[in-house]
Amino acid sequence: MAEHNPLLRVENIVLSFGGANVLNRVSFDVAEHEIYAIIGPNGAGKTSMLNCISAFYRPQEGQIHYAGRDLVKTPTHEVARLGIARTFQNIALYTGLTTLENLMAARHIHIKENGLASALFWGPARREEIKHRRVVEEIMDFLEIAHIRKAVVGALPYGLRKRVELGRALALEPKLLLLDEPMAGMNIEEKEDMARFVLDVHERRGVTIILIEHDMGLVMDISHRVVVLDFGSKIAEGTPDEVRHNPAVIRAYLGQTA
């Protein structure tokens, strides 16, 4: 399906830091409404790839086409407005804010500012707050974090913080969601919950998802297509079944005595 309708097209990305090559001519397409997984050993450049897509890193060469724009040339803070949201490998929440405020902060791009009215919390400003509060409450309800809406997130346990972070990404109402190891460090039960949320987001909201994950079972179960990176280069791409039996992938990642 990628051929007909690519939502995101990554072309020949080259990224290096101080002479060390992190990404080496990586290209792939992600179709609309797809769950696309990026896998590979530690240090293969997976997170760097996500950082390029969210315009946080600027690759030296290559283009990333999305919604008629080249993300490589888009200012970082405008990417969210184009409908791209993400979570981070090492949870990057606003630790001093509550769950509710974290999600509201992500509504930033949707909230209209009303100058003086905001300063006095009056009339239109108040209505605007309530309108977005409704959206955010829906999301909290969906992720089952409504009971911690007024808890400061810095103090929450790891699993919940991961969920709040997903909620914050959803509050942007993205078309494309980038998830960087959303299930890392979770036990089976927490992973199941998270998998359920990811699948629901995908099915009900029609969000396209790019996912980095180490748990091969999980990747194979929920993703439609998989790309495998090794030392910054793409070594395979295809359906989970194809990738699993690809000899190059077994050698570089899944591991096998040669």
């Binding site: 969210s54 315009a55 946080f56 200012p75 970082t76 803070h77 405008e78 990417v79 969210a80 407005r81 949201a85 993400r86 981070f88 990057a92 929440l93 606003y94 630790t95 001093g96 804010l97 405020e101 509201m104 902060a105 992500a106 509504r107 930033h108 791009i109 909230i111 500012e113 905001s118 300063a119 006095l120 919390f121 400003a125 108040r126 707050e129 309530i130 509060r133 409704r134 409450e137 007024k150 914050r168 990404a169 942007l172």
Partner: protein, 355 residues
């Protein structure tokens, strides 16, 4: 914890959940506090009136710092210099253009805000310590300029110019007891506005930038724009506070405590009160000004006992006390008095189950 409320007190919609003063007694208490403050000048106690007036305009300056340092996480060592700018604007616009106070104070806010923006520009590329250095530069450059440019207007090396007393409705506000009311009105306005900023879009983006500027940027917040706004707001409030200080002292200039030590003092007040907390500026300023007076009294007493060291003793207790208190707070209660207050409130709600 902080969400526990008495039985029977529910929120039925989001508007109720957002309300600040939820119960009638809270509204009454607020009104009572403001009325009590308004009655102070009638007491006729000059020390009390002067001190509370000083506390009020200092709170406004610290509120500005709270936006920049507390909420946005950008350290500023230049707040006192921005107060100086505000003081000069109020003095000059009143002196030469004869503008009334409800024009000069907003002009001071805007003008100082613009100066603040200029020194906020380095925040495009640097943060943390580096940015603190940029504001340190402001703290040296601004007072220097005031002493060396336009000496006929800014007072040159004499370090001060007079400030005309404002006239409102035909009454000249030349007594501290009168200026007191101007400070009170300003403080009420800034407090209301800041509480609302904190709970709406702008405030959330300030804190987002403080807690994780990189993530905020990826999630659609333009950190540079947000930091500039914080610099603007902080300098605006410094400008207003500086204007009030100038009016209260009836003169303005580098001679009158606008130096680096004053900036450090404002920062220390904020930390002791509680960084990023709406109550922080109130608690911090009151505590430090009280301590300062205590230090001055101690110094004066000691000076009376050891007259040969009088000058040293008079000047040394203030920094000694302040430095010690600041360090103790940072080591033992880095979240400041406001955090203590929250704990106290929580245990009051939990009574009789709390100890």
């Amino acid at each position: 914890m902080a969400m526990l409320r008495p039985a029977g007190d529910f929120d039925r919609n989001y508007a109720q959940d957002m309300a600040l003063l939820r119960q009638p007694w809270q509204r009454w208490a607020m009104l009572l506090i403001i009325t009590a403050a308004a009655l102070i000048p009638l007491s006729g106690n000059a020390y009390l009136v002067t001190t509370v007036n000083r506390i009020m305009y200092t709170i406004v300056a610290v509120q500005g710092l709270n936006v920049l340092t507390g909420m946005t996480g950008q350290i500023s060592l230049g707040q006192a210099a921005f107060m100086l700018v505000g003081g000069y604007i109020v003095a000059l616009t009143a002196q030469y253009w004869g503008l009334p106070i409800f024009v000069t104070l907003p002009l001071a806010a805007l003008g100082t805000g613009v100066v603040g923006l200029i020194f906020g520009l380095p925040s495009l590329r640097v943060k943390g310590f580096y940015l603190a250095m940029a504001t340190l530069a402001a703290q040296f450059i601004i007072p220097w300029l005031s002493r060396h440019i336009f000496p006929e207007y800014l007072g040159g090396s004499s370090g001060r110019i007079p400030v005309p007393s404002p006239v409102i409705a035909g009454i000249t506000f030349n007594q501290v007891a009168q200026v007191f009311y101007i400070s009170l009105v300003v403080l009420v306005i800034t407090t209301v506005v800041l509480i609302n900023v904190r709970r709406t879009k702008l405030g959330r983006s300030f804190i987002a930038v403080r807690d994780n500027d990189l993530a905020a940027e990826v999630l659609g917040v333009n950190p540079f724009g947000v930091k500039l706004r914080a610099f603007f707001v902080a300098a605006m409030l410094a400008g207003v506070a500086g204007g009030l200080k100038a009016i209260s002292q009836r003169s303005v200039g580098t001679e009158l405590a606008y130096g680096l030590n004053e900036s450090i003092l404002l920062l220390g007040m904020l930390v002791i009160g509680g960084l990023g907390h709406n109550l922080g500026p109130f608690l911090g300023v009151v505590t430090i000004i009280f301590l300062e007076d205590l230090a001055n009294v101690t110094g004066a007493t000691m000076a009376a006992i050891f007259p040969q060291h009088a000058t040293s003793l008079l000047t040394s207790f203030r920094p000694l006390f302040f430095g010690l208190v600041l360090m103790l707070f940072l080591i033992f209660e880095p979240r400041g008095l406001a955090h203590r207050w929250e704990l106290l409130k929580a245990s009051w709600r939990m009574r009789p189950f709390s100890r």
